[in-house]
Each structure stands twice: as structure tokens, then as C-alpha cells.
């Protein structure tokens, strides 16, 4: 998650010493770098996408159900890419949300302080593993495992494997943010529940989860945004076969996988494929940006509920 900037507010006239002035300057500069970069990226995306839309009408792009960027006749309907992206994100969330919420409940309400101090950093380490490693994990472990057990006909690449591995990948995020939301529930509510003779589980179910709901929703949406934007794990596990399907055992191509395919290949920069990259990128950006906004709004809301 990039783009987090630090804002420094001088709160009194006493903050005029030399060192502090320098620190303030550096903080402002790094905030500025973040903002300038973001604005630059958005501008490039939009401008390049406009070049694409000169050649392919937006209606064809947003409503077309066939995507073929490398095989003639070319077709640039983005729906298959969006559908496969959402399919994989959906599978990922089906896995990550229940497990992540359970893990968070366990960490915040049941585990001892010591266990928690061990588990939290482990989650953070998991979140820091390069996602390409997860991609390899999908094709070397998850897919063979699925083949050996329930789906003998599964191909090397599938939306299912990709969804599972993305689910594993976003699980720490869901668990960690949900735990934060549970911890933000005031102690008084827990005590009120226990004092009425509620068990721990009843307290979790009837008081804590409802009280933390908007925080948990924020975690889920952020995880979805992460799943939608996930790239390397999906390229490796789902393949590069753009097709409109909801069948999770098929190989598909996501928006990110298309971007990787074009940017890694020797596609000429003036070609329509290269311009399509920016149109897809802008679409992806719009989706994840919206999801992040919703998530931030939900977090702000649950912060406000208790004073």
C-alpha cells in the first residue's frame, strides 16, 4: 500500500529550531513526492487511455464480451478480463473472509498476550512475501493438490488455484484489520456483556462482531481491492487465456495479467495493444481506487461511533 504520506503540523511558535525546520522540510518533501507521483501516474493513465479510445469506442470497450489482443481478429471488450478478475477476487474472499475473521476473533479475544505477540509479526511477515512466491506456490502445491484430491481434470492454470492463492495472500490483511476493528470496540462493551452472564463466544457474536461490523467491512473491501489488483500470483496461477467464463476450473486472464503480458512482451509502443494496456490500467485503477475510498469511509465511520 503506497501513497501514505505524513503531514506535519507545527502547533506552536516554539517549533522554529533549525533541526525541526529541516525535519519539517523533509516531511513536506516526501509528502510532495508521493502526491506528485500519484498525480503523474493518473495523468499518464488517462492520457494514454484517451489515445486508445480514439481507436476503440468506449462503448465497445466497456460492453464487449470478447477480448483478443494477440490473435486476429482483434477484439477489445474488457468484460472477460473484469469478470475473471472478479471471479478470482470472489473465490479469494470466500476463503479469506471467514478464516481471517475467525483468526482475528481468536487473536483478540481468546489468545493470550504472549501468543498474540508472536502471531501478529508472523502475519506481517506473511504479508511481506513477494507475491510471485505465492504464484509458484499455487502451481507447484495448490494445483497438484486439487488434482490429486477433488479435481483430477484440473489444468495447470485455473481461476480456482489463483483464487485460493490470492485468498491465502489477503488472509493476513483481513485478519490484521479485523483484529484492529475488534480492539477498537470499547472495553466497557465487553465488560457489559460479560457482566450479564454472556460467555466469551456470546460476547463475540452478539456484541463485538456487530460493534466492529463497519471496520470488518472496511477490511473486506480493502482485501477485495488487493485481490483485484493482485498481479504476479494471478499471472502464474490463472494463466493468460482471456475468456468470458464463471467456471473456476478454466484458465482465464485477469486485467493485471493482460497488463503484464503486454508490458513484458515486445509489443511496439504505438500498437493498439500497448494503448489497450493503459485503458485496462485506468479501469483497474478506477475499481481499486473506488474500493479503497469505500474502505476508508467505513473506517472513518467506525472510529466516529465511539466518540
Amino acid at each position: 500500500m503506497a501513497g501514505v504520506s505524513t503531514v506535519h503540523r507545527p502547533d506552536s511558535a516554539a517549533t522554529t529550531r533549525r533541526g525541526e525546520g529541516l525535519i519539517e522540510f523533509l516531511l513536506r518533501a516526501s509528502a510532495a513526492v508521493g502526491i506528485v507521483t500519484t498525480v503523474g501516474i493518473i495523468t499518464v493513465l488517462v492520457v494514454e487511455a484517451l489515445f486508445f479510445f480514439v481507436e476503440v469506442p468506449p462503448v465497445d470497450f466497456f460492453t464487449g464480451t470478447r477480448w483478443s489482443a494477440s490473435i486476429l481478429p482483434y477484439a477489445f471488450g474488457v468484460i472477460p478480463l473484469v469478470t475473471s478478475t472478479l471471479l478470482i477476487a470472489f473465490i479469494a474472499l470466500v476463503l479469506a473472509v471467514p478464516l481471517g475473521v475467525l483468526a482475528a476473533v481468536w487473536m483478540s479475544e481468546f489468545a493470550s498476550q504472549r501468543v498474540r505477540l508472536i502471531i501478529k509479526p508472523i502475519l506481517e511477515i506473511l504479508a511481506g512475501i513477494p507475491t510471485i512466491v505465492y504464484g509458484f506456490f499455487a502451481i507447484t502445491v495448490i494445483t497438484p493438490l486439487l488434482k490429486a484430491t477433488i479435481l483430477p481434470d484440473l489444468g495447470t492454470f485455473s481461476a480456482l488455484s489463483a483464487g485460493i492463492v490470492v485468498g491465502i495472500l489477503v488472509l493476513p490483511l483481513v485478519a490484521s484489520l479485523t483484529e484492529d476493528a475488534l480492539r477498537a470496540v470499547p472495553r466497557g462493551l465487553r465488560e457489559g456483556s460479560y457482566a450479564l452472564g454472556a460467555t466469551r463466544w456470546e460476547t463475540v457474536r452478539r456484541v463485538l462482531l456487530p460493534a466492529a461490523l463497519s471496520g470488518i467491512a472496511a477490511a473486506v473491501i480493502l482485501a477485495m481491492s488487493r485481490a483485484v489488483g493482485e498481479t504476479m500470483a494471478v499471472v502464474l496461477a490463472a494463466g493468460t487465456n482471456p475468456q468470458l467464463t464463471l467456471n473456476p476450473t478454466e484458465s482465464v486472464q485477469t486485467m493485471t495479467a493482460f497488463i503484464v503480458q503486454i508490458s513484458l512482451g515486445d509489443t511496439p509502443t504505438e500498437s493498439i495493444q500497448f494503448k489497450a494496456l493503459f485503458a485496462v490500467g485506468a479501469t483497474l485503477f478506477a475499481i481499486t481506487f473506488t474500493l479503497n475510498l469505500i474502505s476508508a469511509w467505513l473506517v472513518a465511520r467506525y472510529r466516529n461511533v465511539y466518540e
Binding site: S112, Q113, P186, G188, L189, R190, E191, G192, S193, Y194, A195, L196, G197, A198, T199, E202, R206, V207, P210, A211, V305
Partner: protein, 285 residues
């Protein structure tokens, strides 16, 4: 916790009646069959002893006030009675707390059942982020009640002197009420499951004088059916609203202990200990 026999342990039943010279004074007739008996209760948070050897009898259907300077262990003591301190890592208690003759800390004691019979109202009103109705129904739903909830909710809200103010907006959030109303909602929530004892930890400290008086009035009504133990730092409140008063203070090691206990009138007008006299006259604390 199914037995409700009167106390039979001789050592326990002597507490209220003995020690004319020292820390404890007899709490008159009702100490013969008290609802709660604390004997030599000491509490630790890790290595820090917060309460030292407290012995008390809490008489039935009376208001007993625990008073004393901030940090002398009043809340700690109160929260030991319904075992809320079980939630605090590193907490440890020694001594004996008997509720209706049964040790609350015994291994065989069901803490869920204990907390249903010994309710609690907290310093800061803590309604659940649910409707007014669901706040009061919370404990009933835990008990698996399905029929008669409406009637019980109304009855509890009436008993908590809140019904007239909320009867037309039961489905609105409990948090939308004023502070005083929220605290009465928490009292309604506590009495909805018909406990025997209600513990109140400075229930008025966050409230305005008018709400405070309302709650005091309410306590006087509730003791027909309940035994009330209230922690308060407000001396006028103890004087106005309680029947018995227990004065605690801190030793040099900051561990709280009982200086004097007895009928509220006596504690405030004819205290036996100099420390008590100083405290109730406002010279300390």
C-alpha cells in the same frame, strides 16, 4: 452455585460480630444473614497488592456504600465479587467471598451463573450499540427466553424509572439517550434478568446532579427486591443513599484496607476512627 443455604461456616459468620476494637464494627442485625460475606480478601495485580485483608458483610436488601480515596481498591474489591477481574491478566485474589453461602471463587462455581445473579452497573454508561429494547432484552436472549420478552423489557424499564421517557422509541439506539438515561438503561438491562445483587461502580460519576438524584431515588426503590453495593467517591451520595458504609483507605504500600464500617448514620456522625472522621468531614481525599 445452586445452593442458596445461609452461611454456615463459623469463621465467616463471626466477621460482622467481632473485633470491637479494631478495623471492623458490627453491622447490626442484618449481618446475621448477609447476602455477601468477604473474609480476608486480598487482591493482587501481578506483584502489586491493591487490596489487603478486607472482611465485610453485605446485608440483604440494603444499600451498602464503599467509600474511600481514589485508588484504594474499591473497584477492585467490587469487581472481585462477580469475578470481572478474571478478565484482567495477572489478577489474583486470596481469601474468601461467599455469596449466599457459596464461595464465588471455588473451582466448582459457574461464573456465568454467578454473574447472572450478581449484576453490575459501570462507571461510564455502556449501552450496547443496539436499540433500547435490545439492550434490555440482551440478558433475556442469552438465557434463551423467547416468550414474554416484551413484558419483561417493559417491567425492567419501569423499574429503572425510564419507561415513560422511552416507551415511544424503543427501537432507537440506546446510544441516542442522554447520559443519565443511558445509565438507567444499563440498570434496566441489569435487572431484566432478575439478579439478587446489583454492584454499582460510581454509577453517577459521569452524570449531572439531576440524573444523580434520580438514580439515588431509584436505588432506594430497588432495595425492596435487590441487594445493592455501590462504590462512590461522592460523600453526600453515600450519606443520602446508603444504609451501610464501608470506609477504605490506602496503607503506605498503597494497598487498600478497611478502616471502619457500620451504619451510614454512625459513620458520618460518630465515626470511631480518626481517619474516618477526617475523610467524611472532607479533610482528606
Amino acid at each position: 452455585m445452586n445452593e442458596r443455604e445461609p452461611v454456615t461456616k463459623p469463621s465467616v459468620s463471626q466477621i460482622g460480630a467481632s473485633a470491637p476494637s479494631g478495623a471492623t464494627e458490627a453491622t447490626s442485625a442484618s449481618s446475621k444473614n448477609p447476602a455477601l460475606l468477604l473474609e480476608n480478601v486480598s487482591c493482587w495485580y501481578g506483584g502489586f497488592r491493591a487490596v489487603r485483608e478486607v472482611s465485610l458483610a453485605i446485608p440483604r436488601n440494603k444499600v451498602t456504600a464503599l467509600i474511600g480515596p481514589s485508588g484504594c481498591g474499591k473497584s477492585t474489591l467490587l469487581r472481585s465479587i462477580n469475578r470481572m477481574n478474571d478478565l484482567v491478566p495477572g489478577f489474583r485474589m486470596e481469601g474468601e467471598i461467599a455469596f449466599e453461602g457459596t464461595s464465588v471463587h471455588a473451582r466448582a462455581t459457574d461464573v456465568i451463573d454467578l454473574r447472572r445473579r450478581v449484576g453490575m452497573v459501570f462507571q461510564k454508561p455502556n449501552p450496547f450499540p443496539k436499540s433500547i429494547f435490545e439492550n434490555v432484552a440482551f440478558g433475556l436472549r442469552l438465557l434463551g427466553e423467547t416468550t414474554g420478552i416484551d413484558a419483561l423489557v417493559e417491567e425492567s424499564l419501569r423499574a429503572a424509572a425510564l419507561w415513560d421517557e422511552v416507551k415511544d422509541k424503543l427501537d432507537q439506539p440506546g446510544l441516542s439517550l442522554s447520559g443519565g438515561q443511558q445509565q438507567r438503561l444499563c440498570i434496566a438491562r441489569a435487572i431484566a434478568i432478575r439478579p439478587e445483587v446489583i454492584l454499582m461502580d460510581e454509577p453517577c460519576s459521569a452524570l449531572d446532579p439531576k440524573s444523580t438524584l434520580q438514580i439515588e431515588e431509584l436505588m432506594r426503590k430497588l432495595i425492596r427486591d435487590y441487594t445493592i453495593v455501590i462504590v462512590t467517591h461522592n460523600m453526600q451520595q453515600a450519606a443520602r443513599a446508603s444504609d451501610y458504609t464501608v470506609f477504605l483507605t490506602m496503607g503506605d504500600d498503597r494497598a487498600g484496607y478497611v478502616v471502619e464500617q457500620g451504619e451510614t448514620g454512625k459513620i458520618f456522625t460518630a465515626p470511631q476512627q480518626q481517619l474516618t472522621a477526617d475523610y467524611v468531614s472532607g479533610r482528606f481525599g
